[in-house]
C-alpha cells in the first residue's frame, strides 16, 4: 500500500536519490588532497622519529608486512590485515612467526622487494648493521626477536625468544614500515623510498611535503589521489583559517581542540569533524629515589590528591577520559573496567575522602597545616605540559604541598629527566599501539630507555612477560588489569587523563577513518578520494 502511494514521480525521485548516493560513494580517481602539517618533522624516516608529525605525511610512502584495517576506527588484533605479507602463521609453540610475501612488489626506484628487505629492516632496528639509525626509539619493540630468517624471496620467518602474540600488533603499526635494504639510512631521512601508494616528491623544511601517486603500486587501481600536499603551517590560527577558507582540505589529524571545532563548524558548517581519543596520556612522574619522595606514603598521598575530573573539565571541556596505564574502554581495548579503576588511589569520585586519606599520610610523614612541604614541579615549556602542571600545583596545595613550577625548555627536558634532576614532573606519553606490550615494556620495564622515572619491579617484570605470552585474550585482559592496578597502587607513573581531539575535513573528502585508540596508525591514505 505504502509502495503504491509513492506514485511514479516518487519512485523516480527515490531512484535518482539512490543513484546519486551510490555514485557519490563510488571512489573517483584524481585530484590533490591538501592536509596542513603543524610542524616540520625532524626527518622523513618513520623508524627514527617518535611523533605522529612524521607518520601523517610519510606513512603513505610505505607498506608494512601487516597493517591495522584503515577503515575500522578501533585498532585491535582482530583488525590486522595483510599488506606486504599475504598471510602469516604462528609455529613452534608461538616462537616462530612466518610471513608469505606478496609477489611482484617493487620499490619506488624499480628494484624488487624481497624477504631480505624485511630482514634488513629488523636488523637495522636491532642495531645489527653497519649503517645505523641516528635515533632508534622503538628498538625495545623487537627485543624478543632473535633472528629474521628469509626463505627465498617470498617467505620470511621471525624467530622469537618466547611466544609474543603482540608482535603482530606492533608490526601492524604505522611505526613499522619495511625499509629497502639498498637505501642508506641517511637517504631515508631526506628522500625516502618505499613500496607504498605514494612516492616521495619533496620535503622543504618549514614549507611543505609533497607526495605523488605511485603509478606502479602493486594494488591495482590504488591510490585514488594523484597527489597529497602537506603545507607546513606552524601557526594554529593561520592553519585553521586556511582550512575554513578552503586552502587546505583537511586539518592535521587530532589537531583540533573542542573550542576550535565549534568555530570551524560555525564558519564552515559543511565540514566533517570527528572527535576521538588520541591515546596520549597525561601523567605524573615522581622521582622515587629523591627524598622526600623515597617515602612511599608521600607518593601515595600525591596520587590521592589528584582530582582528575578537574583536569578533564578545565583542559578538555569534558572531552577526556580517566584511565590507568592503558587507554580506557570503550575505545581502548585493554583498559581497566570503570568499577575496578574507581578502587585505585586517586580514581575515586569522592575526592574529599581521597584527600582526607592523603592528609593522613602527609601527617604520618610529618607534614600538615603548620609544616608544608616545598617542592618544584618540572615540566616542558609547551602549553600541553605547562597548563596541566599549573592545575596540579593547585591540587597539591590541598595536602600541604607548596609546589613551584619549574618550566624547562624542550631542548633540556629529557637530559634533566635522564639525570633524574627533578622531584616531581608533569609529562605526556603517546602510545602508538593500544597494546599492553607496547605500554608495559616501553614505559615501565626495568632499563627501558623510555621508562623516564626509572621505576623497576622485578616481580611485575615477570608478570609483563607472562601476559605477553598469553594467547587467550580474555585471560590476558585479566592479567593486564592486575598489572595496571599494581602500577597505579605503586604510583609508578600515575596517568591523569587521556585527552580527546578532533580532526576535520571538507565534505568532498572521502575514505578517511579517524582512529579511536591511536594517533599513529591511520595514514596510509590509499583509499582516500575527492568528490570533485
Amino acid at each position: 500500500m505504502a509502495m503504491k502511494q509513492l506514485g511514479l514521480g516518487g519512485w523516480a525521485l527515490a531512484l535518482t536519490l539512490a543513484t546519486s548516493v551510490a555514485l557519490a560513494q563510488t571512489p573517483k580517481s584524481g585530484g590533490t588532497l591538501k592536509i596542513y602539517q603543524r610542524d616540520s618533522p625532524a626527518s622523513a624516516s618513520i623508524h627514527e622519529e617518535a611523533t605522529f608529525s612524521n607518520n601523517v605525511p610519510f606513512m603513505g610512502i610505505f607498506n608494512n608486512l601487516v597493517i591495522f584495517d584503515q577503515h575500522i576506527a578501533q585498532n585491535s588484533p582482530d583488525t590486522i590485515r595483510p599488506e606486504l605479507a599475504d598471510s602469516w602463521a604462528w609455529g613452534d609453540g608461538g616462537k616462530t612467526l612466518t610471513f608469505k610475501l606478496h609477489p611482484g612488489v617493487k620499490w619506488h626506484d624499480g628494484k624488487p622487494f624481497t624477504a631480505n628487505d624485511v630482514k634488513c629492516t629488523i636488523d637495522l632496528l636491532q642495531g645489527k648493521l653497519a649503517d645505523k639509525f641516528r635515533k632508534n626509539p622503538r628498538k625495545s619493540w623487537y627485543d624478543n626477536v632473535q633472528a629474521v630468517v628469509p626463505n627465498g624471496d617470498l617467505e620470511v620467518a621471525f624467530k622469537l625468544g618466547r611466544p609474543q602474540p603482540s608482535l603482530l600488533s606492533m608490526l601492524a603499526s604505522g611505526y613499522s614500515p619495511i625499509y629497502p635494504c639498498h637505501v642508506s639510512t641517511a637517504k631515508m631521512r631526506t628522500a625516502p623510498i618505499g613500496t607504498g601508494p605514494f612516492k616521495f616528491v619533496e620535503f622543504k623544511q618549514n614549507e611543505d611535503i609533497k607526495l605523488a601517486r605511485n603509478p606502479d603500486y602493486w594494488r591495482a587501481g590504488k591510490p585514488y589521489l594523484d597527489a597529497i600536499e602537506f603545507p607546513i603551517i606552524t601557526n594554529r590560527a593561520t592553519a585553521m583559517l586556511a582550512f575554513m577558507s578552503g586552502k587546505v582540505d583537511m586539518t592535521m589529524p587530532t589537531e583540533v581542540t573542542q573550542a576550535i571545532r565549534r568555530d570551524i563548524l560555525k564558519q564552515a558548517p559543511k565540514s566533517v569533524c570527528v572527535t576521538a581519543p588520541t591515546n596520549v596520556g597525561l601523567n605524573l612522574i615522581v622521582n622515587r629515589n629523591k627524598p622526600p619522595f623515597d617515602n612511599a606514603d608521600l607518593r601515595h598521598a600525591m596520587a590521592l590528591t589528584i582530582d582528575r575530573k578537574a583536569f578533564i573539565d578545565i583542559l578538555f571541556e569534558g572531552e577526556a577520559d580517566m584511565g590507568g596505564a592503558l587507554l580506557p574502554q570503550p575505545e581502548g581495548i585493554w583498559g581497566m573496567p570503570k568499577d575496578m579503576l574507581a578502587t585505585l588511589p586517586g580514581y575515586s569520585p569522592d575526592i574529599t575522602a581521597s584527600r582526607t586519606a592523603a592528609k593522613a599520610l602527609m601527617a604520618k610523614a610529618g607534614y600538615g597545616p603548620d609544616k608544608h612541604l616545598a617542592i618544584k614541579v618540572s615540566t616542558r615549556n609547551i602549553a600541553t605540559y605547562r597548563d596541566p602542571a599549573v592545575i596540579l600545583l593547585d591540587q597539591l596545595k590541598e595536602i600541604y604541598i607548596d609546589a613551584e613550577l619549574d618550566v624547562v625548555e624542550t631542548s633540556v627536558w629529557f637530559g634533566k629527566i635522564d639525570r633524574k634532576d627533578y622531584t616531581v614532573g608533569m609529562n605526556l606519553t603517546g602510545n602508538a599501539v593500544d597494546d599492553p606490550d607496547q605500554s608495559f615494556y616501553e614505559n615501565y620495564a626495568c632499563g627501558s630507555e623510555r621508562n623516564v622515572t626509572g621505576y623497576c619491579s622485578p616481580e611485575l617484570q615477570k608478570q609483563f612477560d607472562a601476559q605477553s605470552q598469553e594467547t587467550d585474550t580474555a585471560k590476558r585482559k585479566q592479567m593486564v588489569w592486575s598489572i595496571d592496578a599494581q602500577l597505579q597502587n605503586d604510583v609508578a607513573r600515575p596517568t591523569i587523563v587521556y585527552g580527546r581531539a578532533a580532526t576535520c575535513w571538507a565534505p568532498d573528502v572521502h575514505g578517511y577513518t579517524a582512529m579511536t585508540n591511536t594517533s599513529y596508525n591511520g595514514y596510509r591514505f590509499e583509499d582516500m578520494w575527492l568528490d570533485r
Binding site: R134, K135, I233, T238, S411
Partner: protein
C-alpha cells in the same frame, strides 16, 4: 675619501669577525645541543648512542676547534651541512633569500612611501585635524603588535574577499603573487612607517623654522618646492639613519609576520633552526644577517658622506 672608505671597510670586517665569535660561542653556551634535541624528540637517553651522534656531527670537538672548522669552511665557500635536513647549508639558505628579501624590501618601501610624505604633511599642517589624525595613525602603528595586526588582516581578508593571503602553494595568478607579498609587507611595514612618519615630522618642524626656508618663501618659492625641495632634503639625514636601522631590524619583525602569513622565508627558518640547535644553519644565517646589517650601516655612512661634505672633510 678613499682613506674614509678603507677605514670603514676595515671596521666592517673587524665587526663581522667579532660577531662570528659571539654567535659561535653563544650558540654553544645555550643549554642543550642538537643531540639533546634529537634524543628528546625520540624520548631516548642511551649515553653511548648520544656520544656516537655527537661524534658524527663533530660536536665532540672543542669549541675553538669547531670554530676553526667553520671559519675555514666559510673562507672556502663551504657552509657545511644542516644537521636536520642533512642537505648543504647553502641549499637551505639560498632559496629563502629572495622570499625574505622581497618581503623586506616591499615592507621598507611601503614604510618609506607612507611615512615620509605623511610626516611632511603632518609637519606642514602642524596642529591641524590632518596632523592629529596622522599622529594617531602613527601612534597606532607603534602600539599594535604585528602578530595581532597580521591575524586581524588575515581574518578581514578572508571574510571580505574570500581570499587568504597565506602561503600554502605557489601562487596561481599574478594577483595572488602580489597579494602574498603586499599584504604581509604592509602589515610588517606599518610599524616602520609610523616611526618614519614621526621622525620626518619632527625633523621637518625643526627645518621649517630655519632662516633659509623663510628666505625661500620670501623669494616667492611655492609651498611644494619649499617643503619637498628645500626643507625635506635637509630633514632627511636622521630619517635615512632610521630607515637604515629599520631595514636592519626588520628581520625581527619578519619572524612573526612570516609565521602568521606562513611565508617560507629566512626569519621563520632561523627561529626553527635555533629551536633545533641546527648550528650550521644558525651560525651562517646569523652571519648573513650581520653582514646585511653591517652593509646597510656602511651604505648609510656612505650616503651621509655623499649628502654632508663635512663628514668627508672630517674624514
Amino acid at each position: 675619501m678613499s682613506g674614509y672608505l678603507l677605514r670603514r671597510v676595515g671596521l666592517m670586517l673587524l665587526t663581522l669577525f667579532g660577531i662570528s665569535i659571539i654567535i659561535f660561542v653563544l650558540l654553544r653556551l645555550v643549554p642543550g645541543n642538537m643531540v639533546d634535541i634529537l634524543f628528546d624528540s625520540a624520548g631516548m637517553v642511551d649515553p653511548a648512542e648520544k656520544t656516537r651522534i655527537a661524534a658524527e656531527l663533530g660536536l665532540d670537538k672543542s669549541i675553538p676547534e669547531q670554530y676553526l672548522v667553520w671559519m675555514s669552511g666559510l673562507l672556502h665557500g663551504d657552509l657545511g651541512f644542516s644537521y636536520v635536513s642533512e642537505k648543504p647549508t647553502i641549499e637551505e639558505i639560498l632559496p629563502r633569500i629572495p622570499v625574505t628579501g622581497r618581503l623586506a624590501l616591499s615592507a621598507i618601501g611601503f614604510a618609506v612611501l607612507l611615512g615620509v610624505p605623511f610626516g611632511v604633511i603632518s609637519a606642514v599642517r602642524q596642529n591641524s585635524g590632518v596632523d592629529y589624525g596622522l599622529r594617531v595613525l602613527s601612534l597606532a602603528g607603534l602600539s599594535i603588535p604585528s602578530f595581532w595586526l597580521g591575524l586581524m588582516v588575515l581574518m578581514a581578508f578572508s571574510a571580505l574577499t574570500g581570499k587568504l593571503p597565506v602561503y600554502t602553494e605557489a601562487p596561481a595568478s599574478m594577483l595572488d603573487a602580489v597579494l602574498l607579498v603586499a599584504v604581509p609587507a604592509m602589515t610588517v611595514g606599518f610599524r616602520s612607517s609610523a616611526l618614519i612618519m614621526r621622525l620626518t615630522r619632527s625633523a621637518m618642524l625643526e627645518v621649517l623654522r630655519q632662516d633659509y626656508v623663510r628666505t625661500a618663501r620670501a623669494k616667492g618659492a611655492g609651498a611644494g618646492r619649499v617643503n619637498f625641495h628645500h626643507a625635506l632634503r635637509n630633514a632627511l639625514l636622521p630619517v635615512i639613519t632610521v630607515i637604515g636601522l629599520e631595514t636592519a631590524f626588520l628581520i625581527g619583525g619578519l619572524i612573526v609576520t612570516e609565521t602568521v602569513f606562513n611565508i617560507p622565508g629566512l626569519a621563520r627558518f632561523l627561529v626553527e633552526s635555533i629551536r633545533n640547535r641546527d648550528y650550521p644553519i644558525v651560525q651562517n644565517l646569523v652571519m648573513l644577517t650581520a653582514f646585511i646589517v653591517v652593509s646597510i650601516n656602511f651604505a648609510v655612512d656612505l650616503l651621509y658622506a655623499a649628502l654632508d661634505p663635512r663628514i668627508r672633510l672630517g674624514a
